[in-house]
């Protein structure tokens, strides 16, 4: 381990390429914390955005007109406004309007949601709006006769949705979903703008201290490309694993 660190020190001395996070424990800890927070945010927002998408797609099939209109309005609003301004609006605007609650440990009045939580909420809603459309197109692709068959077998609306429509719809929309979720992973770094200490923020702190801007920039880029590529690869595996024989071009 020490030899490993020494090699990067030597690299800095000889070439001027300063990858501090390989030999400086403090920078390494910052970078790792940033990476973990990015991964955690990505995981939570992916899960929440899928939940938003499923609920929204279900509500869109509702009998109540105003409910469908509300979902349509939500989609149009979140799809056609900049995600960064959404984050600002939520964190600064709504965050200010919400009441402050006493902190559990210190007893001081704290905002109801922290910046990390606001980032998660607004990014989940943003990606969720896209997911609703994606799931809906998947649901529409399920043939009417399949739904009728389920209904004639006595399935309730919820049972038909859960056991028949959804399993088929999810398979149809996986490519589009994977595309959107990769985009979501890339978008999580907008949380940087409200000082969430994720990967980008950690990198900025390091380059502010050691002025190794190009090295840190390229590191961040490589890490993001790696995360996105790995995730996309995983989704392709999932697609293959879930494949229903007889649909599409076949595996």
């Amino acid at each position: 381990m020490e030899a490993f660190a020494d090699w990067f020190r030597w690299l800095y001395e000889v070439t001027g390429i300063n990858l501090t996070y390989f030999y400086d424990p403090f920078d390494r800890a910052r970078m790792l914390r940033g990476l973990l927070l990015t991964l955690w945010m990505a995981g939570v927002t992916i899960a929440l955005s899928i939940v938003v998408g499923l609920i929204g797609a279900w509500l869109q099939g509702s009998r109540f007109r105003w409910l469908r209109l509300a979902v349509d309005g939500f989609i149009s609003l979140f799809r056609n406004t900049p995600p960064l301004v959404q984050i600002y609006f939520f964190y600064f605007g709504l965050g200010y309007m919400l009441p402050r609650v006493p902190d559990v440990s210190s007893g001081q009045l704290e905002p109801l949601l922290s910046n990390v939580q606001w980032a998660i909420v607004s990014l989940s809603l943003f990606a969720g709006a896209f997911n609703i459309e994606i799931f809906r197109s998947g649901i529409e692709a399920v043939s009417r006769s399949t739904v009728e068959a389920a209904e004639s077998l006595g399935f309730s609306r919820w049972q038909t949705y859960r056991d028949v429509v959804l399993p088929l719809a999810i398979r149809t929309c996986l490519p589009a979903l994977s595309n959107n979720l990769v985009n979501l992973i890339k978008t999580t770094n907008l949380a940087y703008a409200i000082a969430v200490p994720e990967l980008m923020y950690a990198a900025k702190q390091i380059w502010a201290d050691t002025t190794n801007v190009p090295e840190m920039m390229i590191t961040v880029l490589v890490i993001y490309v790696a995360i996105a590529t790995l995730f996309a690869w995983g989704m392709t595996r999932l697609e293959r694993w879930l494949k229903v024989p007889g649909f599409g071009t076949g595996a």
Binding site: G73, S76, V85, G93, M97, N189, L190, M217
Partner: protein, 283 residues
């Protein structure tokens, strides 16, 4: 669906269709969505007004006073997005064509470049361009100054390039192979086939995703506020500071930016949807 001359397929008809919203596009702008946004905005300003203290101006007054500046900022966003789209498309089309090259290494390299810029976060690419490109060059004794916004345009053009490259590749590959074969049998070489037979068929397929991309890049231009380009959000923050940083103004002012972008991007989205539907029906 109303039949229009655009459906006769003549180039003039198609152009007219693009310029004059008719047929299915008439239903395009959905009043309900606009009303919903207006309601959200008014609600936030109402809360802002309710919490305003004596002697300070209401949120609506503040927005009204500063709207020329803020809208000027919005125009700057539109300028950045248009320039990025122009540069990105100019670079992306050749890159996409190279992705379908019959030379293995060329194809592979074009694919690699495309995937790299497609999978990197837009904000990181923006940082990369703004912080790593020097602010001035000396070429042949002339000193060229590069303001932040010009570097930001490049930062937005990179992801546009990668996405356009994918759109072009997808469109070229969606043209049936038989077209290539018949062109070859008619004595067209590869370049002629591409320029005169394949690409003309691609425009229609490329237009909706290209417009989608334009809408996305327009919304991303606010990211430039993070690196200090004085576009709408930077100006909004300055207005907030000038008004004494009253928290009650936060939601209305950011809400105003949301409304501006919505009013610009929503019609584009509806238009894109209408084009998609139309092309699917006819394709």
């Amino acid at each position: 669906m109303a039949r229009t001359h655009a459906e006769t397929g003549s180039p003039a008809g198609a152009a007219a269709f693009l310029l004059v919203p008719n047929g299915p596009l008439r239903a395009g702008i959905d009043a309900r969505a606009v009303i919903a946004v207006a309601l959200v905005f008014l609600a936030s300003t109402a809360v802002g007004a309710a919490t305003a203290t004596e002697g300070t101006r209401s949120a609506l007054e503040v927005i009204w006073t500063w709207s020329p500046l803020l809208l000027w900022g919005f125009l700057f966003n539109l300028f950045i997005s248009a320039a990025a789209m122009l540069i990105g498309t100019a670079a992306g089309v050749p890159l996409g064509v190279l992705q379908t090259s019959d030379l293995g290494p060329v194809r592979w390299l074009a694919w690699l470049v495309t995937q790299f810029f497609r999978n990197s976060p837009w904000l990181v690419l923006l940082f990369l361009c703004v912080f790593l490109i020097p602010y001035r060059f000396t070429v042949l004794g002339y000193t060229v100054l590069l303001p932040d916004w010009s570097k930001a345009i490049l930062g937005f053009a990179l992801p546009v390039m990668a996405n356009v490259s994918e759109i072009v590749r997808g469109a070229i590959q969606s043209v049936p192979t038989g077209q290539w074969e018949s062109s070859a049998s008619l004595g067209f070489n590869r370049r002629q086939t591409l320029a005169q037979i394949i690409l003309p068929q691609c425009y229609k397929r490329m237009l909706p995703p290209w417009m989608n991309l334009y809408s996305l890049i327009t919304m991303s231009t606010v990211n430039a506020s993070v690196v200090g380009v004085s576009e709408m959000i930077t100006l909004t923050n300055e207005v907030l500071a000038a008004e004494g940083s009253r928290p009650a103004l936060l939601a209305p002012l950011y809400g105003f930016a949301l409304v501006c972008f919505f009013l610009y991007c929503y019609p584009i989205a509806r238009w894109t949807q209408a084009l998609e539907r139309r092309f699917n029906v006819r394709g």
